[in-house]
Amino acid sequence: MEQTQYLIVGSSHAALEAITAIRMHDTDGSITLVTRDPHLPYSPTVLPYVVSGRSAPENVYLRDAAFFDENKVSYRPGVALKALHTARNVAELADGSEIGYAKVVLATGAAPAIPPIPGIDKVDYHVLRTLEDAKRLNAAMKKSQRAVVLGAGLVGMHAAENLVKAGANVTIVEMSAQLTSGYFDATAARLIEEAFTANGAKIRTSSQVTWLAADGDDIVLTLGDGTTLNADLLLVATGVRPELDYLKDSGVACDKGILVDDRMRTSVANVWAAGDCAQARGFFDDAQVMNAILPDAAVQGRIAGMAMAGDPGVADYVGGVPLNTYHFFGRHAISVGSSKVPDGGVERTRFDEASGRHLKLIMKDGRLLGIYGVNEFFDAGVMAQLIVRRTDLSAVQDRLFEQPLTVGRELMSQIWR
């Protein structure tokens, strides 16, 4: 049986960062990477641009094959982890082979969560998580006249914009009352909604699909209020969840994701997890949260790699902070931190109808908790630092609210230059 010092499962952001971290500390320990995806590493985040045709599929890879040679990584694409036998420290792969590991990091990400709508198994719908999904959606989009996007998160909204621009009639169906809830506040959501409607999309918030059926090449959606929609293209984008069947009988504790501590260690010895598959401590309260965003996958992958390699420089995870950037119809929206206004907290907003600039700051005791902007650029990385450092901003909060860009930079170069 093949034996490896470090086994990496997955080949996206968390996995690649783990490799980098391991090699910074341990130049020789054997590394094996197994991944379900047949392609060179790429990011799910780039897929909306593959769908739109802006990025050519062969031009989105994060690493070339030489990367694996240079880092002495035995790279095995196209083979999934099937089961983890933790008692023996052995990974069983989909092709039946086994690999013994000293240490393993699970970086298998998440998969589209498919809602249990009656009839969904009878219709041909799209999802967006892999390069194959993106190519298929790109081809279908070119022929689509009537498209329905289920779910108004960022994945759904991105795809909806692509479909609108490709000339389809698009309807977005969202269960909650607000678009992009969880990412942006009500004002931002309104601006986003207006941009979509102005470009011809229909938006049905507070709507639930109760029934799906095929009608020739069409899909018929029945909504909670009894109305029906006909679509020649259905995209299901109702969130993500990790697929963790491979952990059955492994003893690795899971909730919504794989539970990890501040060094990305799971409940079982020699097993780490990072990225969208992991459930780690949130920054704002100590509960374990799913923070399925790219920057967090990178940070967690780095910590896991350092911890596995025994790098003494490893520092505890600061906790997951929501961070999002979003472009829609030539405008941009940025959100950093918590959208909740806690007891004793204050919310300050300003909005300029003419320029469409919107800014919202959430503070408590002089500390920044969250900052949201539409068409108002600020350095999200700097704001995130002010949040996680819990910097006392009492004396500058008015100026920060007026000029988040320059004041953030001023603070940055004084505090962590």
């Binding site: 990178a298 780095r302 950037t325 940055m412 170069s413």
Partner: protein
């Protein structure tokens, strides 16, 4: 071995916020007058006394500029493979054809080094103008510098390190840096003399019958270093072998007890390179004064203390001025004499090369000012800063001399800082009275005038 890269350095103390750098950048990069598009952003600071925010060292301007990080976070969060660290130039390259304008890099960067250019809707970042940054010459105050020292480190990294990997120096000692660089540069065909002092104390002579260097090394007496080395060199010449005869001696070994043999060798034009590591005292044996210890400095033999009952004198450090050793060596008309500082490695390297060349035909003398964290009493991470302040205050002047070209300055200081900037950087001058400080400042001026006369050139101040 990792590579080192050139970098743009900002000195906020020299910045007056004129914005010329930003204008130059916006013009060169975007053909625009809009300084908000500049990739270098200078920010006036308005909140110096904010609670919880350190007031900083008195500067009032801050900088936002891509740092071309060695371990760049912007690259790790880019979903499109549009950002890469270029291992040739050190620059984080941005590939506009791959970039999807998602702005995730602005989340990754905590230094505001990559941000949105509202005019194009795309991100923009400094690319150092391909190694010729337009902002640097545009700065009228020298607050921006393009540091190219990295070339030395990259080149030196390929040469063999001829010292033992572990040395017993004090933490923060820059003599190790000096020893390793010098020996790497001089190369394996060297015979090294290290008289008593910090250099053998750190391990050049080795332990348990093995040497601390990969070249022949010997440990002469303090008194006879130059004489012995001259003899060794002559013997090698006699048997027809080309070697560099190198001495690395302390200031005590050179300027006090070793002086007569040094002076004799210089006068005879012996073919050698005599390097003095001047830490201004006998630091290895417990920090006694030497003739190179400056006026007012505390040493264990020039103590500081209160007068006892009935006694008049109050001990206030050394009461004599330092001997100007390098000028004395100029008066030997050596083939090459220079002063150097580890805070200015490019300058040091140029002088080392010239000194090596001169030692083929005659006597070369290189005097390196070498701050001593233990004996001078400053924090171990401040060695370069102390060395730099010595030069910036004119306490130390960097120059070189050859009989053909005379003496000239290699790092003229246009606006020298008051000598107190140097003195306050360390503990050995902590006790100084205003009169003593005035004496030292006066000595700096006198010294400068003296060397300027020899140089027939103004040094500044």
């Amino acid at each position: 071995m990792g590579r080192s890269f050139n970098t743009i350095a900002f000195d906020p103390a020299k910045c007056d916020g004129c914005g010329d750098c930003m204008s130059a950048c916006a013009r060169v990069k975007f053909d625009s007058d809009d300084t908000s598009r500049s990739l270098i952003q200078i920010l006036a600071r308005e909140n110096a006394n904010t609670k919880g925010i350190s007031p900083g060292a008195g500067s009032s301007f801050e900088l936002a500029l891509c740092r071309q990080c060695g371990d760049p976070k912007c690259v790790t969060v880019c979903p499109a493979g549009a950002l890469t660290k270029n291992n040739e130039t050190g620059v984080i390259d941005w590939d506009g054809s791959r970039c999807v304008d998602c702005l995730l890099c602005t989340i990754g960067c905590t230094y505001a080094g990559i941000s949105l250019d509202e005019a194009t809707g795309r991100v923009s970042k400094c690319d150092t103008c391909d190694g010729n940054p337009a902002c640097v010459p545009a700065c009228p105050h020298d607050a921006l510098k393009y540091i190219t020292t990295s070339n030395i480190y990259n080149e030196v990294g390929d040469w063999e390190d001829l010292f033992a990997p572990g040395l017993a120096g004090c933490q923060g000692c820059n003599t190790e840096l000096l020893m390793r660089h010098t020996l790497r540069r001089v190369g394996p065909d060297t015979v090294l003399a290290t008289p008593p002092g910090c250099v053998p104390g750190m391990g050049s002579v080795g332990f348990n019958g093995t040497t601390g260097t990969k070249v022949p090394v010997f440990h002469p007496l303090l008194t006879n270093t130059a004489a012995m080395l001259a003899g060794v060199k002559r013997q090698y010449k006699r048997v027809g072998r080309e070697i560099t005869a190198l001495a690395i001696a302390g200031d005590g070994g050179a300027s006090d007890v070793g002086f007569q043999s040094l002076s004799g060798a210089a006068e005879r034009g012996e073919q050698m390179l005599f390097m003095v590591v001047d830490n201004e005292g006998y630091m290895n044996t417990g920090m006694q004064r030497s003739s190179c210890t400056p006026y007012g400095a505390w040493t264990s033999t020039t103590p500081v203390g209160k007068a006892e009952e009935g006694q008049k004198a109050v001990a206030q450090g050394k009461t004599q001025d330092a001997k100007n050793m390098p000028l004395i060596m100029v008066n030997h008309r050596c083939d090459y004499v220079a002063t150097a500082s580890t805070a200015y490695m490019e300058d040091l390297y140029e002088k080392l090369d010239k000194a090596i060349a001169a030692s083929r035909t005659g006597f070369a003398y290189l005097h390196v000012y070498s701050p001593c964290t233990t004996g001078w009493r400053f924090p171990t991470d401040q060695n370069m800063e102390v060395a730099r302040k010595a030069v910036e205050t004119n306490f130390v002047m960097l120059w070189e001399y050859t009989p053909e070209q005379g003496l000239h300055f290699t790092k003229p200081v246009d606006q020298p800082l008051p000598v107190t900037e140097y003195l306050k950087a360390m503990g050995r001058f902590r006790h100084l009275s205003p009169e003593q400080i005035a004496h030292i400042q006066g000595k700096v001026e006198e010294n400068r005038r003296m060397v300027e006369k020899l140089a027939e050139q103004v040094h500044g101040g």
